[in-house]
Subunit: 170 residues, 2 copies
């Protein structure tokens, strides 16, 4: 039994899912609302029935991605010695199960839409805070720097995925 019932997705969620895949693959600018509509099997204007603008759609996808990360990092339990490793594993699993969403975050970094940049930056801080708090709760020492290192490592791994650099970084 998965957390989500496997009732078929409603139109809005279908659009969010298709958009996540397309935005992750082709980025914000190269993905058209017509692409998203086509992927779902509806007409282009209908997308605007659910999301006022293309940007609003993008931000909605981004929020979902962030929520997933926050959830995972908040629900990884382990001993002080093991927490970093466990969370690292959890992130690797996440990168497989929600590849689109994770790649999307990387590309969002470099999307020069002010609203998107602001959202990404805020989301980044939020994730950092969450990790820092979890590390603190677990009694890890110097949680600030450990959290920074942890996130830096995650970024690097994700970037290697985006770039598809097989030789580099294992």
């Amino acid at each position: 039994m998965s957390s989500k019932e496997d009732t078929p997705l409603n139109r809005k969620d279908q659009i969010l899912k298709a958009a996540a895949a397309l935005f992750a693959e082709k980025g914000y600018y190269k993905t058209t609302t017509a692409d998203v509509a086509r992927a779902v099997g509806v007409t282009q204007p209908y997308v605007f029935h659910f999301f006022k603008t293309k940007e609003a759609l993008y931000l909605a996808v981004l929020q979902k991605a962030k929520d997933i990360i926050l959830y995972v990092f908040s629900h990884t339990e382990a001993s002080m010695e093991q927490l970093q490793v466990s969370m690292g594993r959890a992130f690797e699993v996440l990168l497989k199960s929600h590849r689109n969403e994770m790649l999307l975050i990387m590309t969002a970094f470099t999307t020069p839409e002010p609203a998107i940049r602001d959202y990404v930056r805020a989301g980044f801080d939020e994730v950092y805070e969450r990790v820092r708090i979890e590390f603190t709760k677990a009694g890890i020492e110097d949680p600030e720097n450990q959290a920074k290192e942890f996130i830096g490592c995650g970024l690097l791994i994700t970037m290697a995925e985006v770039l598809q650099l097989p030789k580099l970084f294992l």
Copy 2:
């Protein structure tokens, strides 16, 4: 005496320079050829006199950026013990003196134009090879992994710059 004479730049180089700044700041898609032209003080179609397409202009800027990196990493001399540190310093200097070009490379990573992606990937390999060779020549052991680590670190630093994350990563 700088390596470049300070003869005023010719139009083509003016365009390259302006394009580097704009592409770095606003990315490939959000930078228009009209933006570039305006920055230089010429008309939009005149840009096409020097570069057949917008993409060709972008690739030219990218090539210059890569050449700078290769040059710096090829000309940093130091003892085996000091080489990594010296090259790290050199990169930091580069990030200040050629900020636009370095940031551009980061954003180029996530630009989903096939030709651009291919160029970036190839350039990446080239830089890796260069670093690996320099490390090998200096007698550093396990040069492959040291080179990977070195580049990963550089990526992370550059990314922190792009994201303007002051708190994180020092």
